[in-house]
Amino acid sequence: MGLALLQDILRSRFTKPVLFSLCLVPLSSLVWRAFYGDLGANPIETITFFTGDWTLRYLLITLSISPLRQWFGLTGLLRFRRMLGLYVFFYACCHFSIWFIFDHALDFTDMFEDVVERPYITLGFSALMLLIPLAVTSNNAMLKKLGKRWKKLHKLTYLILVLGVLHYLWLVKADYLEPGIYAVFAVILLLHRLNLKKWLSSPKASIQSSLNN
């Protein structure tokens, strides 16, 4: 009963615009706080951490679609996945821009020096670079044009997830609780992707199948 209702909601033509607006709530709350001077003593740091957090959250949400679909039969979820993925890119761009503008005053040389010298920044920057081809190919035309290759290309998301979580873990001074939570989520999603059960019974077959599908 409840599940059927959920399926109906997922199929409704209003759901997508509603979800689209919901995804803008974190950014709106940030703008609201900025307007009322509620970003604390170090607003740039607050914005950088906030947008970084939401990039990882949207990434985890996007990658949860496929397990949720399988476990609960929520087939209607799939049509939101590309939109959620684009929000990952959107929040990642905000995160990067704030850092590039305020930490490096838009100085490319200065910025690239940091990218090369600081491993955690190397990881974060690589993740952003890898998001670009995914964002560019997330429209219907590219999906059709690339066919089977589209799926293969978009498996990069898992690599991006690993890079993103390591990027966070690597910058922490002593308290690993928050990045640790992201890491646990990421590991669960990766294990699901690798299809652990099959893998344990017949490792070769499963790796083959997870690479193919």
């Binding site: 003593a41 170090n42 740091e45 930490d103 491993p119 308290d175 609780l177």
Partner: protein, 316 residues
Amino acid sequence: MINIKKVSDISSSAITPESIYLRRREFMKASGMLGTAMLLNPWMTAAASIPIGDYARNVITPKGEDEEITPEEDATSYNNFYEFGTDKGDPKKYSTKFTTDDWKITVGGECAKPGTYSLEDLIKPFAIEERVYRLRCVEAWSMVIPWLGVPLASIIESLEPTSKAKYIAFTTLHDPQRMPGQKRSVLDWPYREGLRIDEATNPLTLLAIGMYGKTMPNQNGAPVRLVVPWKYGFKSIKSIVSIDFVEQQPLTSWNMSSAREYGFYSNVNPTVNHPRWSQKKERRIGDLFKRPTLMFNGYAEEVAHMYDDMDLRSNY
């Protein structure tokens, strides 16, 4: 109930240790002229707080340029004080019930006057000074804070260290009931810090009991903390309960946590990066963009001589 009177307001540009002393004499004169209130009752004591009597402002931060005192609201709401939580807002949030009545400091090791002192007894013999210092955090942000305190050198002198006292070790209170952040082992509690004896007796080093003309707020290290302005902020240990004079270099908390990243000296040094991030620049709280970090946080004139024979790359 804090009774505070500002005696004089002497500011100047970068000054040498000698001139600090000169200025102290000026202050003595000025306070003498101000009358007898201070002499009769320099410790107009409030029941539950460390009393701050009269004090003289002694501006050590070069003024001019674009250096301004950080808003008090920022300096008391954006804190690294893991004893009350690891988020910058946690110390203010979770230290409201922290009480510091009858604060005792245990003095031990290589000195003629070991024992347990009340904070008041330790501080009482000396004139309180206001020192405006830059504070540079290892995380690459900074503030400018007007501290109230006593030069640590005066207190050390009164405790009569022996010739074996090469270093001083400090410890923060360890009481997870009162400091809830200690319920999680993000660091190996209690928090420990240390200085070489010449660093501890450098005229810049302050034992602070207040800031912004008030007693020390809980979130900033009440009731008593160290301020070592040429070193990264974590060297300025908060809520001190013990001072030990020792012969060997003592263990320090962040060094124990990650020796590669946090050395014993931890002098502010834009040419030696933290292994994970750059120390070339810093964001002054209140600014949007970063500014260059200065060698020894701009106090090279006062402190560089202590490190003349040292390779600051290996002694980071």
